[in-house]
Symmetry: C2
Subunit: 256 residues, 2 copies
Amino acid sequence: MAHDGTHFVAQLREACATCGVRGLCLPSGLNRHELRALGEVLRDRRPLPAGATLFHAGSRFESLHLVRAGCLVSVMPSADGESQVLGFHLPGDIVGLDGLGTHVHGCSAVALERSRVCEIPLHSIHELACRVPSMRETFDRIIGQRIQTEHEHIAMMGKRLAKQRLAVFLLDFSERARRLHRDPQLFRLSMSRSDIASYLGLALETVSRLFSRFQELGLIEVERRLVRLIDVAGLRAIAEGEAVPELRPGMQAEKH
Amino acid sequence: MAHDGTHFVAQLREACATCGVRGLCLPSGLNRHELRALGEVLRDRRPLPAGATLFHAGSRFESLHLVRAGCLVSVMPSADGESQVLGFHLPGDIVGLDGLGTHVHGCSAVALERSRVCEIPLHSIHELACRVPSMRETFDRIIGQRIQTEHEHIAMMGKRLAKQRLAVFLLDFSERARRLHRDPQLFRLSMSRSDIASYLGLALETVSRLFSRFQELGLIEVERRLVRLIDVAGLRAIAEGEAVPELRPGMQAEKH
DNA sequence: CGGCGCTTTGAACTAGTTCAAAGCAAGTGG
DNA sequence: CCACTTGCTTTGAACTAGTTCAAAGCGCCG
């Protein structure tokens, strides 16, 4: 890859400033020298149009990918045709970690909207990790946080009511938006109801109904994929499983 | 830790031979020299009696642990008192990876029976990974395989019938037993019905009933925690979601 | 023996699914 | 500019897989 000295570093720093993820993204906390080393490793990639596949399940694993812009979904195909959504990836997230073991991707990654990713060739990761101590810590953080995330996903799918799951999902997105310096109350979901349902382990109708119920309760305002969180504390209460006043169809939020 | 040269290496090699895990366990595929290096890093630990906690959720993370003998469960506590079982760990498995990110354990690890583990201090892992190339690959394999495992767990909990989940669980245990050079058809589960239920995202009564149904169908023989797989192909069919003849209480396996 | 913890089993119940149909936004082509 | 298609979303109504509640059974250890 062509890299023309300090210009590239400046460019990377700029790109990462825009990216705006603290702590999770690779270059955070690196000094000028370390950034340079990283710059030699990152390969820029053409933007992915919505619907494009970054890699397929079963394909050979060669690189990790760092999401720069947009949103990807990772999907595990299953024998019976029903595929499982494993996660949604926003800027700063790393995708492809499951290939580290077998060098074969266990799931597919698909762009939900026009997106950009950085490619990080596997062979250069370890070299960099050994050469730059802070990079090693960063990789550890990425791995650890990812496993933690998977654990939370499992905890959410085991023995939680549908309304708790959706509340957790919305609060999670809000928190991620906040970390990306976006509005944590107002965001546009780039995935379909069906994707959300699969991610949460529910039927898509259940998800759709819950969006409506949450709106009736005055917890959110929703119009198709545009969501505004109105009562975050209320959502949190539902997520925690605290008994909520009423959540039956046909009830109005206001009681006079 | 005391290490007296070649004797230690021999000891380690011996221990790992008994351990018998291929591919997954750290020392597999290492030469004499590399084994020596690893020996300097592994710290032996006192055996854990059944019920003992290796580490608590929230406690400071300092080391990974390699299960040498027995069986551990990792459990994530949740706000509402209900805790979630994340996994069962047999010899060769690494526990504690979720602490890599924050340096704080996100879940607890508890021995389900008398067990032994090797402690691998974090600070020496990276050093070793840089010094011994094949160690690096081994660590990658461990990480990748773990994420893959978590993904399968998620896929199992989303949109799968209870009978599919239990069938998957039994087949998974059978496969792991096989890899440990144990009898893949006959094994003793060291966890309670309640642990299994939490792991599968079901009520414990459902799990208990399914064990009975599977027995009635002639798929397994079960007496409390002792399980014998009779019809592996049948279990596989159920796991895959293929329509099974009958699975109703009160029906006999034999039809005359 | 007696008590304790785990497991099994039954019966009533319900949260969520499934099936079905209508609504709605956005694009396409005449 | 409108008729028509397509894909996603919403909503309703019937249904069911699994839960919950309750009680009995069983093995084990002091």
